[in-house]
């Protein structure tokens, strides 16, 4: 499916889509969004890129095998769950710290990043494998 129009538009759009995806992930704790939705947005971006440029280009751009992204996501989510154990709290307790007057960061965000990576990795694994076959 080689098309100059699609290909040029994709280059612009994919960047925007990915930025939007990170934005959704970041704001998810307070406003609609979150890791799952963000991952789906990102996956849509990569799917568009794959349609325009082929799955090889996506693989080159990702640099990592999507299955590794899934695995990394599981590790990140588990880490977020295990961290509270070090301060003698139950598994997956949210730990929070504040940065400046209004920004609070905590392990639930890390957990959400894990969710993001798992969903993104899984969708890409299937998408690229389908595209390849």
């Amino acid at each position: 499916m080689q098309s100059i129009i699609l290909s040029s538009a994709t280059r612009l759009l994919v960047g925007l889509i990915l930025v939007f995806s990170v934005y959704l992930l970041w704001r998810g704790h307070h406003l609609p969004g979150g890791g799952f939705a963000a991952a789906l947005v990102a996956a849509t971006g990569f799917a568009l890129f794959a349609l325009a440029e082929g799955q090889e280009a996506v693989r080159r751009g990702l640099r990592a095998d999507p299955r590794r992204i899934t695995a990394a996501g599981l590790i990140v989510a588990l880490t977020a769950g295990l961290l509270p154990l070090f301060s003698h709290r139950p598994f997956l307790t949210g730990l929070w710290g504040t940065l400046g007057p209004s920004l609070s960061l905590g392990t639930p965000l890390l957990f959400d990043v894990g969710v993001f990576l798992v969903v993104l990795g899984t969708v890409l694994t299937l998408l690229l494998a389908l595209e390849e076959s």
């Binding site: 769950g81 798992v118 299937l126 998408l127 595209e131 076959s133």
Partner: protein
């Protein structure tokens, strides 16, 4: 026999004695407990294990446990020492030691724990390690087959036993044996007594290879000899005996208990003894005598008088000593002379004097000659059989035949293999290294020592063991000479019959072989047929259930949904009248969205190509997302919209590769059926949704989330806070499922290409 030959190695000098240290240390520690234990001082301590189930890891060291610990560790030390020389430089000897140690620890755990559920765990661990050890040479088809047979037989028995344990725990109020003993009278009168007993017997009798489950044991002997000597003669197969003894004060002594154990034990005894005499392979011969010995112990545990139970424990010890020694001797012969075939061997005593000495000592004990421990065992066995409650004459007869045939087997091993003219298949055999003969020699010598001072053994080992499960025991006396009485007369008869059996072994073997061939069913054959049947059934079942037609899968799922949720709805009288009453008139926007969805649906149903249908389905999804959005659920709408988009992309990718739709797609009847089914599912689900939302929802949980989301979880988006904080454990499980499903899908896609 190839199985063992491949293990042969000629460098026997390597020090393999190091792994023997662990069992030796355990043995020494256990031995220091013997005097205190005989004085009635038992150790007991408890560790919490699964407090929520009331399972504590109570450790009890009483006479019975201590006897088993001593046997396991002593035979273990001899076997580890032997294995070092036997395996030589075998590349996988570390795996061997690891598994053997794991087995020994499981076996020790089995005999030490007080809780039946903990016992079950160790029980299954011995089954698993036994499986891995029988299949140690897994490159051989036969080893794999035999390992699987042992695993399936004892594993199935173990699972049935678990059911029995659970019933017993439910009936008695605890799974601690020490508690159950106090409930014994109530348990024996309980209506579930018989089913419980049957389940527990299934575990014990499969593990101890009792008729009709005896077939796995001789096959399991294809394992390397140290394993046969340790697991399949001295220790693991006695786990069933141990359990029967342990449960004796809880469930024993009833007619059902006595009749089952005496009859099955006697059948096992006779069949094992007869088959033993007819074997050519020395190892299989010992295997069948082991089956026979286990039968004898089971038969005696069926009794309830002190002499009978004493006979069971005495014979347990006698057998453990001589049988492990004989197995190791056969392993040595195999290793040095390259064969276990009775017809190829002879006169080995001249070239292997120490091994011959060990074999003779053990065999004389097995034959029950005076001054050997086996003699004491035999005397007490006749006393026990005569004191049997149910069928004393029958038990005595069985014991007589079994002992006579054992004498014959002992004769065959010593006379045919070690005496007479020197015969060997390959190069001239030499005496084995010290590590190989030391163990059997010591075990044999112990048989002599115990035979000379039976009084000491009786007071320090046998009596405490019997008292542990038979507290009413009166004085137990093991004596060298009991005077001229019926047991002595029976001993003389036994020896005479044994000699007759030895000289008549060839015709006897022919008769037994003919009988065996003439039997309409064999346990081995029944096992094979059952296995085949299972495989055939599984295949047929898979063909029906997993036939690959997506249409059929979906039909099954939707019919199930329609019936399972439609039926209770009809019964509850949730008609569609009150259902429609809950609706307000739709607003303009809602009506517009509804119309769009309906139009898209029409396209889906009428579409001539898959791509069009999928895109139209996407419109349906997007329309529902809009409705969510309209009603103030932006998160759900967002996710729904994204999922719809991605689904269309992914499905489109797949569809591009499919051939065009066939025309017509399906028969008119099928189409009508599909339409009815779709409508039914839609109506049922819509009905349930309105029925559920029509009532007052409990807003307690929602209120909690609303109140604490921002305060405790630092987030104002409740949906997201629920996902990543309040209920993050669920999410963790879900993303693991996502990852695994993704990998599975990836595997399927890659397989097709």
């Amino acid at each position: 026999m190839a199985s063992v030959n491949s293990l042969h190695s000629h460098s026997t000098g390597k020090a393999g004695w190091l792994p023997a240290l662990l069992p030796l240390v355990i043995f020494v520690i256990a031995a220091t407990r013997v005097p205190a234990n005989a004085a009635g001082e038992h150790l007991h301590w408890t560790l919490p294990w699964v407090p929520s189930l009331g399972v504590g890891l109570g450790i009890t060291v009483d006479g019975l446990s201590l006897l088993f610990v001593l046997i396991v560790s002593l035979v273990g030390a001899a076997v580890f020492l032997f294995a070092g020389a036997y395996l030589g430089d075998h590349p996988q000897r570390l795996r061997f030691y690891g598994l053997l140690t794991a087995f020994m620890v499981s076996m020790l755990g089995l005999v030490l724990v007080d809780n039946l559920l903990a016992l079950f765990v160790f029980w299954e661990l011995t089954t698993l390690t036994s499986y891995l050890l029988i299949g140690f040479e897994h490159h051989l088809e036969g080893a794999r087959f035999n390992a699987r047979q042992a695993l399936l037989t004892t594993g199935a028995g173990g699972l049935v036993m678990l059911a029995g344990i659970l019933m017993l725990a439910e009936m008695g109020g605890s799974s601690d044996i020490s508690h159950l003993v106090t409930q014994a009278d109530r348990l024996r009168r309980h209506p579930l007594y018989l089913p419980t007993l049957a389940c527990l017997f299934a575990g014990a009798l499969t593990k101890s290879a009792q008729f009709p489950f005896h077939f796995w044991l001789p096959n399991a002997m294809s394992a390397p000899t140290p394993i046969s000597a340790f697991l399949h003669s001295a220790t693991m197969v006695k786990a069933g005996i141990y359990l029967l003894a342990r449960l004796h004060p809880v469930l024993g002594g009833t007619p059902a208990w006595m009749a089952t154990l005496v009859v099955l034990g006697a059948m096992t005894t006779l069949w094992g003894a007869l088959l033993a005499v007819s074997q050519r392979d020395l190892k299989r011969m010992l295997a069948y005598t082991t089956v026979m010995a286990l039968g004898v112990m089971t038969m005696f545990l069926g009794g309830r008088t002190t002499p009978t139970l004493t006979a069971a424990m005495t014979f347990l010890m006698v057998h453990a000593l001589y049988k492990s020694a004989l197995f190791l001797v056969v392993g040595t012969i195999d290793h040095q002379a390259g064969s276990r075939d009775l017809h190829q061997l002879g006169g080995l005593g001249r070239v292997m004097p120490l091994t011959g000495l060990a074999a003779t000592g053990a065999a004389l004990s097995m034959a029950g000659f005076p001054l050997f421990f086996g003699f004491i065992g035999k005397e007490i066995m006749y006393q026990g059989a005569l004191a049997e409650d149910l069928f004393p004459d029958f038990a005595t007869g069985v014991a007589l035949v079994a002992n006579a045939l054992m004498t014959a087997v002992a004769g065959i091993i010593v006379m045919c293999v070690f005496a007479g003219g020197l015969r060997f298949p390959g190069e001239r055999p030499r005496e084995a290294g010290w590590a190989m003969w030391l163990g059997p020699l010591l075990l044999g010598a112990l048989g002599v020592f115990f035979g000379i001072c039976p009084d000491w053994v009786g007071r320090h080992l046998i009596e405490p063991a019997v008292v542990a499960f038979h507290p009413q025991a009166d004085e137990i006396h093991l004596k060298l000479f009991h005077g001229f009485n019926l047991p002595l007369l029976l001993s003389v008869v036994t020896l005479t019959l044994g000699v007759v059996g030895y000289f008549g072994r060839r015709p006897l073997a022919r008769i037994i072989a003919a009988v065996e061939k003439g039997l309409p069913v064999s346990a081995d054959g029944a096992y094979a047929r059952l296995l085949d049947l299972t495989a055939t059934l599984a295949e047929k079942h898979t063909r029906i259930v997993q036939n690959g037609s997506l249409q059929r899968y979906l039909t099954v799922i939707f019919v199930a949904v329609a019936l399972a949720s439609g039926w209770p709805m009809m019964k509850a009288g949730l008609g569609f009248g009150p259902l429609m009453a809950g609706f307000d008139a739709p607003t303009t926007v809602e009506a517009l969205l509804g119309l769009i969805i309906l139009a898209a649906l029409t396209v889906v149903v009428a579409a001539g190509s898959r791509l069009l249908a999928v895109c139209a389905l996407g419109v349906v999804g997007a329309g529902s997302a809009m409705i969510f959005l309209w009603h103030g659920a932006p998160d759900v709408a967002l996710t729904q919209l994204l999922v719809e988009t991605l689904t269309v992309i992914i499905v489109a990718l797949v569809l591009l590769r499919l051939p065009p739709l066939p025309r017509p797609l399906s028969s008119p009847r099928r189409r009508v059926f599909n339409a009815v089914l779709s409508l039914a599912v839609g109506l049922v689900l819509a009905g349930w949704l309105t029925a559920v939302t029509a009532g007052d929802l409990d807003r307690g949980v929602t209120a909690y989330y609303e109140a604490y989301s921002a305060v405790k979880a630092h987030g104002r988006n409740i949906v997201n806070v629920i996902l990543v904080d309040f209920r993050s454990f669920d999410t963790l499980g879900e993303i693991i499922v996502v990852a695994v499903a993704g990998l599975a899908g990836y595997g399927l896609i890659r397989r097709r290409t």
